[in-house]
């Protein structure tokens, strides 16, 4: 095997690209888990839905920006509705630990089967938003991939700023840290939950829209991503937002190095092995839940 420096660099950069997507997916999951202690097994299907909305919008108006925005808005509404009309019912019963899991699994099955019924089982793809390749010596990377990283990281920065500096963002963090105290100061935590679920769905949708030119859109495009998302969330430390961003990039890069050195079927086992290894050393994950409810 011939491992030139530029090939290694290419693989690392490609890892950062997938890692950005993992980070976005993990951030959505961790936001939901952090604020309402719900493991959302339908997250990958929100991602898939985002892919299809992108596909349909692009078919009507050939403008990727419009596609991304429409995907974000529609999936925000779908996710918010799932929280408001279904998930919220399971919160009424305080000791129903498994009800939210069963419910989100059900939503995932419905969305996946629904997509299969409506769109069929063909894998569909769209054109790159930007053509061309960046070349520096032997090193080559498509501008599309660079765009994914820029938009993805930009989005994460905007979200972090929103959580940190706006009153609404502070209300979300307050709800995550202590729901009773948040209610006591007047935060309508029911609305916060709906909003967070919507934001999380929108994040998934934007990620899907961004990668739709690279990965084909299909009813199953979200399945492995949900699992990957959970790996990222646990690796980063359940409920830790910066942790899941870091873990997303780490998993992405580690995977692409694994694939380069071995074969692509080692991708999934390796990320799980990495998770096991980290948990052995640090059971609380990399960033150990700095804003969790546990004090």
């Amino acid at each position: 095997m011939n491992l030139s420096a530029s090939l290694v660099l290419e693989q690392v950069v490609n890892g950062v690209v997938t890692g950005t997507i993992y980070a976005l997916v993990g951030a959505g999951l961790t936001l939901v888990y952090g604020t309402m202690r719900v493991l959302n097994f339908a997250h990958g299907e929100f991602f898939m839905l985002g892919g299809y909305v992108m596909l349909l919008t692009i078919a009507v108006i050939a403008n990727p920006t419009a596609g991304i925005l429409v995907a974000a808005v529609i999936v925000f509404c779908v996710a918010a509705a799932v929280q408001r009309f279904l998930l919220r019912q399971t919160h009424r019963n305080a000791d129903a630990t498994f009800a939210p899991i069963a419910l989100t699994l059900g939503v995932s099955v419905v969305l996946q089967s629904g997509a299969l019924l409506v769109f069929g089982e063909t894998y569909q793809s769209i054109n790159y938003f930007v053509e061309g390749t960046l070349r520096i010596g032997d090193f080559r990377i498509a501008w599309q991939r660079i765009l994914i990283v820029i938009v993805g990281l930009g989005l994460i920065a905007i979200l972090a700023g929103f959580l940190r500096f706006t009153m609404l963002g502070k209300a979300i963090r307050a709800t995550a840290q202590d729901p009773d105290a948040a209610r006591a100061v007047g935060v309508p935590i029911g609305l916060v939950h709906t909003l967070v679920f919507g934001i999380s769905g929108a994040l998934a949708a934007i990620s899907a829209a961004l990668v739709s030119p690279l990965f084909a859109v299909s009813p199953w495009m979200g399945t492995t991503l949900t699992i990957k998302g959970f790996i990222v969330t646990v690796l980063g430390g359940l409920g830790s937002f910066p942790g899941s961003i870091m873990a997303g990039i780490i998993i992405g890069v580690a995977e692409s190095i694994t694939v380069m050195l071995t074969a692509s079927e080692w991708r999934e086992p390796f990320s799980l092995l990495l998770l096991l290894f980290v948990l052995l050393l640090r059971p609380q994950g990399l960033m150990g839940a700095p804003w969790s409810r546990v004090t």
Binding site: A94, M167, K170, A171, R173, A174, Q177, D178, D180, A181, A182, R183, A184, V185, G186, V187, P188, I189, P290, W291, T295
Partner: protein, 234 residues
């Protein structure tokens, strides 16, 4: 101002409060005292709707609170400081205070309230950039009370305000409660230290096994045989 009539609270199959009635007059300090597990905290949680189910009638200035969720009390002029401080530990002192004025109707006065609260608790101005979770117990209690004052309440409810504080901090918090009360805020609090509570308050309710055993003005309670023999060990 605040009137509670026959409040009963159940946690699942377990009934914790039976027919508790109490009254907090305008500008007063009222305490709920009693032994551990007598339901003192449940009285406060019950008033602000942080319990699974409650019965009875609760009114504030004549308005019925029975169907008012906890998050809307603050807009009516009631502020709750929950047991064990319940701070947002991953947020700074300043952010915790800001959250106290989260409600739309209070945000416009945020700046003046911050100035007022920080004049009352100068320490919090010094510590404004620190994470609330990193403060000592007494400092955390100050943040919690200060946060409760950010919404300019007319009634401040304090759940076990002295829990886990050093004797020195207990005095500091007690004198702060007097200052706050002098500024026109009624206070309802619960406390295990009966002598301290009765010296601070104008009237009190002794809770035993989830029922009001004896109630009256604090001066009378301090003199009553029941309180003296059971709680003051005389």
């Amino acid at each position: 101002m605040l009137t509670v009539q026959s409040l009963s609270v159940e946690y699942g199959l377990v009934q914790v409060l039976w027919d508790v009635s109490l009254d907090v007059p305008n500008g007063s300090i009222v305490c709920v005292i009693g032994p551990n597990g007598s339901g003192k905290s449940t009285v406060l949680k019950g008033i602000c709707g942080l319990v699974p189910s409650r019965r009875g009638r609760i009114t504030f200035d004549g308005q019925d609170l029975s169907n008012v969720p906890c998050e809307e009390l603050v807009a009516m002029g009631i502020s709750v400081v929950l047991e064990r401080r319940k701070l947002f530990v991953g947020m700074t002192v300043r952010e915790n205070l800001e959250m106290g004025a989260y409600h739309r109707s209070h945000r416009t006065h945020m700046r003046e309230r911050l100035a007022f609260v920080e004049s009352l608790f100068p320490l919090l101005a010094e510590r404004r950039a620190q994470l609330a979770g990193k403060l000592s117990g007494g400092e955390q209690q100050m943040v919690a009370i200060a946060r409760g004052l950010m919404s300019s309440p007319r009634l401040l409810m304090l759940d076990e305000p002295f829990l886990g504080l050093t004797p020195k901090m207990v005095n500091v918090v007690a004198s702060l409660m007097r200052v706050i009360n002098k500024s026109g805020v009624a206070i309802l609090f619960n406390e295990q230290n009966v002598e301290l509570a009765l010296e601070l308050s104008s009237s009190g309710y002794v809770l035993e096994g989830g029922r009001v055993a004896i109630a009256g003005s604090s001066a009378n309670l301090l003199r009553s045989d029941h309180v003296r023999s059971i709680y003051l060990g005389e």
